[in-house]
């Protein structure tokens, strides 16, 4: 859920001024956007370490920063003014501009991350294949039939928040005919993809 930036406690963001360098602020923003959505315990300690601040004061800042960054990525702002207008008029200008720049620089990376964690069916994470030749069987003493064994690794959706989701394997054997039929289907998908890309 995104709390709109209007309800964000901007004053808590000033804790970021304690950072000893701009790079530290970049790191904090990145950690907050990428880890914030998974309610990670490691996030709080990582940010406290980057800024040299105590957990109590840092928690509020993380909440506010997360809210601002999520609002920016949600709307996909491309102009600095659009982002700057989220901040109150009396907000520290340099900090505002720094956060704006960091968000614009990381927009694509964070959007990609968001896509990789969005609602989805189980995802194909890897696949292997092997080509075999069947030489003989109990019914045929000599033969030479090529066959393909395909193993696909699919990662299920997370059911328990604290554990990594399980992978399960799908093992299939494909004859030449089955493979050709599959290739037909795959080339139809490729055709559709090019026409989607052209729109």
């Amino acid at each position: 859920m995104i709390k709109m930036a209007a309800h964000c406690d901007f004053s808590s963001l000033e804790l970021l001024m304690k950072a000893s360098s701009k790079e530290k602020v970049v790191k904090v923003c990145n950690d907050v956007y990428v880890m914030g959505s998974s309610q990670s315990d490691g996030l709080l300690s990582s940010v406290c370490e980057s800024l040299g601040t105590r957990p109590n004061e840092t928690k509020k800042m993380i909440e506010s920063l997360s809210s601002v960054l999520k609002t920016i990525i949600f709307h996909g702002y491309t102009e600095p003014q659009e982002i700057q207008s989220l901040f109150p008029k009396d907000f520290h200008k340099n900090l505002r501009d720094l956060i704006t720049k960091i968000a614009l620089d990381n927009m694509n990376t964070w959007k990609t991350h968001s896509i990789s964690t969005q609602v989805s069916l189980p995802r194909l994470v890897d696949f292997d294949w092997r080509l075999d030749t069947k030489m003989a069987s109990d019914s045929i003493s000599r033969t030479s039939v090529p066959t393909c064994i395909l193993q696909m690794k699919v990662q299920e959706n997370q059911t328990d928040v604290k554990t990594t989701p399980e992978n399960h394997n799908i093992n299939v054997e494909l004859s030449k005919e089955t493979l050709d039929t599959m290739l037909d289907g795959l080339s139809k998908i490729r055709d559709q993809l090019s026409s989607v890309a052209r729109r």
Binding site: L124, L131, T133, P146, L150, V154, L179, I189
Partner: protein
Amino acid sequence: MDLSERGLTAGKLVDMKWKLGVAVCSDECKSLNSPFVAMTLKVADASGKISTHTFELTIPQFQNFSEQMKDMAARMEMI
């Protein structure tokens, strides 16, 4: 990959259904326009029992998969 060592047997691919979708937006991005491929495979085991597996692929994954399947078919021709 050695299936025989792991005591796994491969079923026969019986059917493959697919869908090309475009994620329009999500709770995190108002405007996504992110294409994806979803597939359902039907696999028959040795006893004839059919199981279905549905999953998604990103476009780069789909392209890689598609390339490798083509490659495999080409090699099959040569055997």
